[in-house]
Symmetry: C2
Subunit: 193 residues, 2 copies
């Protein structure tokens, strides 16, 4: 049990041990609901066959919502990133979850991500814009470049835009605490007031 718990993110062997002793001390009726919740979640929750978001259905809620614009696909690394974008209440398109970002060092090539599924959607559905909202990290940037490169024929034909959210200064921040790379990007991406 300690071994299994310490495989979870953010839980080291010490915490795993503490959790284990805590759970062992509890009466079974307090622990079994957790075990059942885990089983049930693993049984019932799978990936949306269209966008690979988590869902209990064949297709997730967002893909089934007819009010969402199918011409706009926001590409993210993980299902949890959908929650971040939804929190802005400003995006009304669809999503596509890659399941990670390109990272040759870790052996993650395009075939390990839902890339072909994305390209198929772009070609089959009437998509006007792909917003690549992968993380603003080295591998997130590389992933965005790869997608733009693969979709170049469609972009060249004027049928599609491949965009990326702006890199820049976080709101409420202070120039003094901005790192150089972010500030460079913010200056390079400056816009008319």
């Amino acid at each position: 049990m300690i071994d299994e718990l310490s495989k979870l993110p953010g839980i080291g062997p010490k915490t795993a041990q503490r959790l284990t002793f805590h759970l062992l001390r509890l009466p079974p009726e307090d622990v079994l609901p957790l075990a059942r919740a885990l089983e049930e979640a693993k049984e019932r929750i799978g990936f949306c066959r269209k966008c690979f978001n988590l869902t209990e259905e064949e297709e997730c809620e967002l893909c089934r919502d007819p009010r969402r614009d199918p011409g706009l696909i926001c590409v993210v690394e993980e299902p949890s990133d959908i929650i971040s974008v939804e929190r802005t209440h400003e995006y009304r398109g669809r999503y596509h979850v890659l399941g990670g970002a390109l990272s040759p060092i870790d052996g993650v090539g395009p075939d390990r991500l839902r890339m072909e599924e994305l390209f198929r959607r772009v070609r089959e559905e009437d998509v006007r814009e792909v917003i690549v909202a992968t993380n603003p990290t080295m591998s997130g940037e590389a992933t965005a470049l790869y997608i733009a490169e693969e979709l170049r024929p469609e972009v060249g034909a004027g049928k599609l835009r491949v965009t990326r959210p702006a890199a820049g200064l976080p709101m409420g921040g202070d120039l003094e605490y901005a790192d150089e790379v972010t500030l460079s990007r913010a200056l390079a991406g400056r816009r008319d007031v």
Copy 2:
């Protein structure tokens, strides 16, 4: 001495007391250099008459550097912000230090900042672009809007651009930790890859 020290930013009465007792314990030859450094700094260092950066001369180093583009003015709140922008090694124009940002609640109107001096520079020198790099806060944004409004005739005449560094996701970050306002801005300001 405790009173004077506790006026410094980040130094509360407790720290001020600790510093005072520490300084009193030292031999005079260890304390007098600090006192003299303070006096000298206050005597010798003043504001650049052009951009209001800190300088020991009439005009600061950056204003006197002939290799810097006088057609580009980066407007910042404080002299310390110049150091942040310089650290990017990508900006080769001039600066203008406002001495703060507009904040009606605190009684800081345009007359309390070096606004007129900025507008005079824009009109008298051959300025093509004013980059308003005030902080990405409410008052920094308000200051940028005020400057754009005041320079509207020049912008309308096609002689000038007033720009602002991009607001968006800081580099190396994670979508999951981005606040909604920043992520909204990043999405609104998205660019073609």
